[in-house]
């Protein structure tokens, strides 16, 4: 069993439309099966409202499935007694950097998680230093988070999760509110954690260049997982992706059009370099 496994997970929520009326049952997640192996870099794509955030919250026991079961490192998230263990194993980084930093000094914020799980004082200091070094924020340890850039704030948030020594980090559109530079910084930090520390990464994103690096991509639509595979497999199906209202990288789109027009190149081209090579070879 992988680090995160879901079996037929369904999540219903009640939607109150008008006063006094019976609430309507809406399905945000609809029969999701997942099996994520430890150490992988996973990307989850999907149009707005497709249930990505809802699924992410399940992986951290912030939400519990209405039907079906979700296991984090073999622990059932519906089991009340294991909630804190699960949240320690599967850390979560959210979209808005301002709304997830609790401390008023960078190092105090990073220490917040370890404090909550009862780590002894000396070890907290070690972990904080370690986590800030890994995310490249050690020189800002005494700074106020308010004065950092968006990318730096997100790296502090990541450090806050890293300090809890999780096996898995779930990032829900961590770069959505950042400029291109901030996006690069955050992504580099995440990749380093994945490659050097072997932390499983589950990245929810709208940016295709972030998806290309993933080991595996899941595409969600109306609460279901509708596509899965390597980035190349996914991006070779341009028409299906368009059906799910997803952006396709421009190179991939161009390559696809060229292919349709009869140029002899492989499908699922992801980078400009690849396209150049393919074009050179096709002649």
């Amino acid at each position: 069993m992988g680090i995160i496994k879901a079996a037929k997970v369904v999540f219903d929520y009640l939607k109150y439309s008008e006063e006094g009326q019976e609430p309507e049952v809406n399905r945000a997640i609809d029969g999701v099966d997942l099996d994520i192996a430890e150490g992988q870099f996973i990307a989850i794509l999907g149009h707005n409202g497709s249930g990505k955030s809802t699924l992410a919250k399940h992986m951290n026991a912030l939400l519990v499935p209405t039907e079906g079961t979700l296991w984090v490192d073999s622990l059932d998230t519906a089991e009340d007694d294991d909630v804190w263990k699960i949240r320690q194993k599967a850390g979560m980084v959210f979209q808005n950097p301002d709304n997830q930093i609790i401390g008023t000094v960078v190092e105090e914020d990073v220490g917040f998680g370890p404090e909550n799980i009862g780590v002894p004082t000396d070890e907290i200091w070690q972990r904080v230093e370690d986590a800030l070094t890994k995310t490249g924020m050690i020189s800002y340890r005494k700074h106020s988070p308010n004065k950092l850039s968006g990318g730096q704030k997100q790296r502090v948030a990541i450090a806050g999760v890293v300090a809890m020594k999780p096996k898995c980090i779930i990032l829900d559109e961590p770069t959505a509110m950042l400029d291109p530079n901030g996006r690069k910084e955050v992504l580099a930090a995440v990749r380093e954690l994945n490659e050097k520390e072997g932390v499983t990464v589950i990245l929810i994103t709208h940016y295709m260049e972030e998806v290309i690096l993933a080991d595996k991509v899941y595409v969600m639509d109306s609460g279901r997982i509708v596509m899965q595979g390597t980035p190349r497999e996914i991006f070779s199906q341009v028409d299906t992706l368009k059906k799910y209202r997803l952006d396709v990288p421009q190179v991939t789109l161009l390559a696809d059009e060229l292919k349709k027009a009869g140029v002899d190149i492989p499908s699922g081209i992801l980078t400009i370099e690849e396209l150049v090579n393919a074009l050179c070879q096709s002649n």
């Binding site: 949240r87 808005n96 709304n99 000094v105 907290i124 200091w125």
Partner: protein, 267 residues
């Protein structure tokens, strides 16, 4: 304008004052406030002003930064001084219509003004030199005995520290919304009081909505990081008294003793 409020903001530096135990600073601030009400003479005020000046000097927080925080209370200050000046009976200095300004009133107003200014500077010096986290740790430890009578001490402390952390963020947001609406022709300056209050509505609504959303997000982020109240929680920076804290307590005791002694012998 809103950014000028420095109460509740932390000014990072490495002074002795910054390194003191927050409990000392909290008790110190309390002692200082009490002393302001014990002192009742110009000499007394001079002593408390000097004491504060020395503390500010030690803190290495630039005076400009502290004075900026006073701007926010100027109105409050003027109002309380004004009412003290006109409602104190005594020797009339001059009279406009039925408003009598008395000598006693003027003196009282000046005293109130001095007290308030010193009080605000004193209190903001505490928050400027103590991170909200330390401050709440300190409060939590000081109030711990109240836990026995079921006061949720840890929760109150956490609540305060979060409020303090979000003050600057909400200020900035207010500023932003204000500017956005001024750019669309909103007017927050002119008109009478009722008009002004009415004009604030389009400012407050988005502010409240965003504050609620933030609170929601933050609660989730805290839960995701295993926050579950004070039980079983350890501390990254546990409070341990050092020698300098004992020295600071001694200075405070001396200061308070002087205040009381002066009051007793009537200077």
């Amino acid at each position: 304008m809103l950014r000028d409020i420095t109460i509740g903001q932390y000014y990072p530096a490495k002074s002795v004052l910054h390194r003191l135990d927050p409990r000392v600073k909290f008790v110190g601030t309390l002692v200082y406030i009490i002393s302001l009400f014990i002192f009742n003479s110009w000499i007394g005020y001079l002593i408390s002003a000097l004491f504060l000046a020395v503390m500010v000097k030690i803190s290495t927080v630039p005076l400009k930064f502290i004075v900026k925080g006073l701007k926010a209370i100027v109105v409050l200050l003027l109002i309380s001084m004004f009412f003290n000046a006109i409602f104190t009976p005594g020797h009339v200095v001059f009279q406009v219509w039925i408003i009598k300004i008395t000598e006693e009133g003027l003196i009282l107003a000046a005293k109130i003004g001095i007290r308030l200014i010193l009080l605000i500077i004193g209190a903001s010096l505490m928050t400027l030199t103590t991170t909200p986290n330390q401050l709440t740790d300190g409060l939590e430890r000081l109030m711990k005995p109240l836990n026995k009578i079921h006061v949720p001490v840890h929760e109150i402390a956490m609540l305060m520290s979060i409020a303090l952390r979000f003050i600057p963020i909400l200020m900035e947001e207010t500023d932003k919304i204000m500017k956005a609406q001024i750019a669309r022709g909103a007017d927050f300056e002119s008109g009478n009081l009722i008009r002004k209050v009415k004009n604030m509505v389009p400012l407050l609504v988005p502010l409240f909505i965003s504050a609620f959303r933030r609170a929601n997000d933050l609660a989730m982020a805290m839960e995701a990081r295993c926050y579950h109240g004070g039980d079983g929680r350890t501390q990254m920076k546990p409070l341990i008294y050092k020698k300098r804290d004992a020295a600071a307590y001694a200075v405070l005791a001396l200061y308070l003793a002087i205040a009381i002694a002066m009051r007793v012998i009537g200077i």
